[in-house]
Amino acid sequence: MKEVLLDIKDLQVHFRVYGGFLKVLNGTNMRVYSGEKVGLVGETGCGKTTTMKAVMRILPKPHGITPEGKIIFKNKNVLSLKTQEIERLRRNEISMIFQDPTAALNPVFTIGEQLLDVFRYSKKNDGLKGKTLKQMAVDSLRAVALPDPERILASYPIQLSGGMRQRVCIALALANQKQLLIADEPGTSLDVTIQDQILRLIHRLAEERNMAVILISHSLGVIREWTERVYVMYAGSMVEEATTPKLFSQPLHPYTQALMECVPRLTGMKTNEGIPGRIPDYFFPPTGCRFHPRCPKKMAICQEEKPPFYQIDDNHQVACYLYKGES
């Protein structure tokens, strides 16, 4: 039996803004087993990063997390941990590669200072000498395919290219042995040969360390190649979940189907129009299934109540009324 590492249950996150609340996360559910590689895809602004920031407890304030939600990590609810406990969790159990590498690095310290800090304060490295730590920092930069680590260590973030900064962040996140790695768009600013090398590295470490990985990416090709199971998110909640091959061969949710249609193909000289309509307004989110205003197959019931997950088979579930009779 696989062991559940992370279980996000009915998570609701609302942001307080001028004039009211943005009801962003709308009952998000996600489960990750130990050592598993899970993909998370979905439209820009659908709440992928917000969900993961909630797991790390780093959402900017003010925000509201409604009490129904739970984030269970190793049998403890992250949302009710004390500050000290949550810091320990971030230091020893979960790391995150942030989508925006510039924001994740401190502009006034060199890369070396930031990286050495991580090694120095890791428990595993207690009592190690400065020289050894420095060597570890150099090696960690080499591992993410960065040329001349010595120069990088002496550089400030501004002196590096976007892709180099991103790899520094990846090195930071992989510095310690963790049980869960959240990789939010780890390949975005890298050319495909380097991206491939990085994903290979993450994959290898995941196997060696029995580390689970949540891989967030807009590149469906990357998801197809590097994950075992995928969640598809739309406007604040999961709409489909399946094993990776299943999702690509047989997408069920109308959103997933439309998304697949938008991928630029290596074979074709055509550009798709994109999914008609726009991202929902979280101030007044659509009722019922949040996709209904854009859905080509909507029915009367769709705008009334949020569809539950229908289990199609062991490896596939979908939140759409079209599949009501099939579970």
Partner: protein, 316 residues
């Protein structure tokens, strides 16, 4: 066709405490009105540095930049307003390019005011039109960058670039933070506007599938040099440079059909070289699966292998 931008033998070296970074050593290309040149390459190969020089944000160490037949390379910060209006850029990193203390409406209003694009009276309508053009709801006018998702910020940046009605836009990985649906919309919008206004694009991206669908010509950069340049069709049908072949082989795709047309997988080997310590000979030789003796001795020059298809490699 009217030539908009011509870049010749462009060079940029940065002096740092750790030595001289030869970020760009040899970049020569041109863009005509209505054309998209795709610039692809290794992370850190100097693509953004080329873009910044074109924009006048960095002073070139050597070489020429001509825009509409005027030499603009030397200007640096002192470019006249008229020129600034003509050239716009969308940055790679949407987070840091938007002022966090201004609302989206104010961000879009600023260039309109600086360049006196429209009367005060029409300003609001222009802003709403710009938002609409990139597919953002009008409520976004009052939002602040910190409350936007990564992709939404990039859409604001694109709207801002369009605001001055430029004739050339540098797009530095404009869609790498966007999901494929919004990417499709942006790309369609960009293509539509390009046709309507005969715009030139310098389009930097890592997404070769996207490149295939938008660029008219493609240039590949490696360690500060352009190593291959061709019409998009030729480029994908007969990639010549070993680095290009490696790139194409590593593209993550979503279907078996695409898997079939990719070149055989060549796994990248060897150490990635650095722009501080440029390897002798062909800069790609430490990673090249096809290297020959001569490759580590002297740097190959660019040759025209077929009309319009240039490559820098001894194999040809």
């Amino acid at each position: 066709m009217e030539e908009l931008l011509k870049v010749e033998q462009l060079k940029k070296h940065f002096v740092t405490s750790r030595g001289i970074v030869q970020a760009v050593s040899e970049a020569t290309f041109s863009i005509t009105a209505g054309e998209t040149l795709g610039l692809v390459g290794e992370s850190g190969s100097g693509k953004s540095t080329v873009a910044y020089m074109v924009m006048g944000l960095y002073q070139p160490t050597d070489g020429n930049i001509r825009f509409k037949d005027k030499n603009i390379g030397k200007y640096h910060q002192k470019r006249p307003l008229e020129l600034k209006k003509e050239l716009q850029i969308v940055f790679q990193d949407p987070g840091s390019s938007l002022n966090p203390r201004r609302s989206v409406g104010k961000i879009l209003e600023l260039p309109l005011k600086i360049h006196r694009i429209d009367s005060q009276f029409n300003l609001r309508k222009r802003i709403l039109d710009l938002l609409d053009m990139v597919g953002l709801p009008k409520e976004y006018e009052t939002k602040y960058p910190s409350s936007l998702g990564g992709g939404e910020k990039q859409m604001v940046a694109i709207a801002r670039a369009l605001s001055t009605d430029p004739s050339l836009i540098v797009l530095d990985e404009p869609t790498s933070a966007l999901d494929v649906s919004i990417q499709a919309k942006i790309i369609n919008t960009l293509i539509r506007i390009q046709k309507e206004r005969n715009l030139g694009y310098l389009f930097i991206t890592h997404d070769l599938s996207l490149m295939r669908n938008i660029a008219h010509r493609v240039a590949i950069m490696y360690l500060g040099r352009i190593v291959e340049q061709a019409l998009t069709k030729d480029f994908f049908e007969t990639p010549l440079h070993p680095y290009t072949q490696m790139l194409l082989a590593s593209i993550p795709v979503v279907s078996e059909e695409e898997e079939k047309i990719k070149p055989e997988r060549i796994t990248s080997v060897g150490e990635i070289p650095s722009p501080v310590n440029i390897p002798p000979g062909c800069v790609f030789h430490p990673r090249c699966p096809k290297k020959m003796d001569i490759c580590s001795q002297e740097e190959p020059t660019m040759v025209e292998y077929k009309p319009g298809h240039f490559v820098r490699c001894y194999l040809y």
